[in-house]
Assembly symmetry: C2
Homo-oligomer: 116 residues x 2
DNA sequence: TTAATATATGAGTATATAGTTATATAATAT
DNA sequence: ATATTATATAACTATATACTCATATATTAA
């Protein structure tokens, strides 16, 4: 089963178009501002205005990032009157952030210990 | 335990410096050429020359990307005579690629089904 | 209708970085 | 020492994109 997954992974990554898709996904998560937005959305759906407040960024910028994240399917949107509510649509976000956060934390800890 | 992890994740992402580190990690995986290199390294360590061959990219470009990936701790290197062998150092790469590949595959499948 | 509010978008600038070419560095062999 | 080979790096160009400002597009209220 493990080797099955491994070979599926290797197979996926051999297609150029697929690799570009995967890179696009990672790139979406590779901007601090977008990670901040995602973090805010981790406790539930939020309007653009609320996200502008919680991030302290300009409205136009927040709107653009939300749009990008929605285009690639990571976020979803819901209109309600004047407001647009965004939410996390692709649950893989949680696993991805946990993995990277864990790795970054482990690395920071190792670097600290290397000084002793 | 689940809520513990969740809150640890939320706590991690609240530090600006930490968010930048996490973004940097994702960004490293957000380039097709780097993903190709990583894919080649998934079957074991390789020299720069071997990676130049397997990717078809220019030597200088491959060397640069390998350097970046090594700086952030995703890859490791080993010198042996004229050759430098690179390998995957941070095992979280496997989990990350599996998650994203799975999500991209699922999305492609969903898009296909939406046409029927 | 007009006004007010929330969100999206066009246009511009600034910056980061992928890729290239040429060259430097380092290790081995002759 | 010189030549050869593998890798790294400096300098440059081209491109992508984050951010800003101004404005457009809804949607609701008066």
């Amino acid at each position: 089963m493990k080797s099955n997954k491994q070979s599926q992974l290797a197979r996926d990554l051999k297609s150029d178009a697929f690799i570009v898709k995967v890179a696009e996904r990672f790139k979406m998560l590779g901007e601090p501002m977008r990670l901040k937005l995602i973090q805010s959305l981790m406790s539930g759906e939020r309007t653009v205005g609320e996200l502008v407040q919680s991030t302290g960024a300009a409205q136009a910028n927040v709107s653009r990032h939300l749009n990008h994240l929605t285009q690639v399917g990571l976020l979803g949107r819901r209109k309600a009157g004047l407001h647009v509510y965004y939410h996390i649509e692709d649950e893989s976000i949680y696993g991805l952030c946990e993995l990277v956060c864990g790795s970054v934390r482990a690395q920071a800890k190792a670097e600290l210990e290397a000084l002793n």
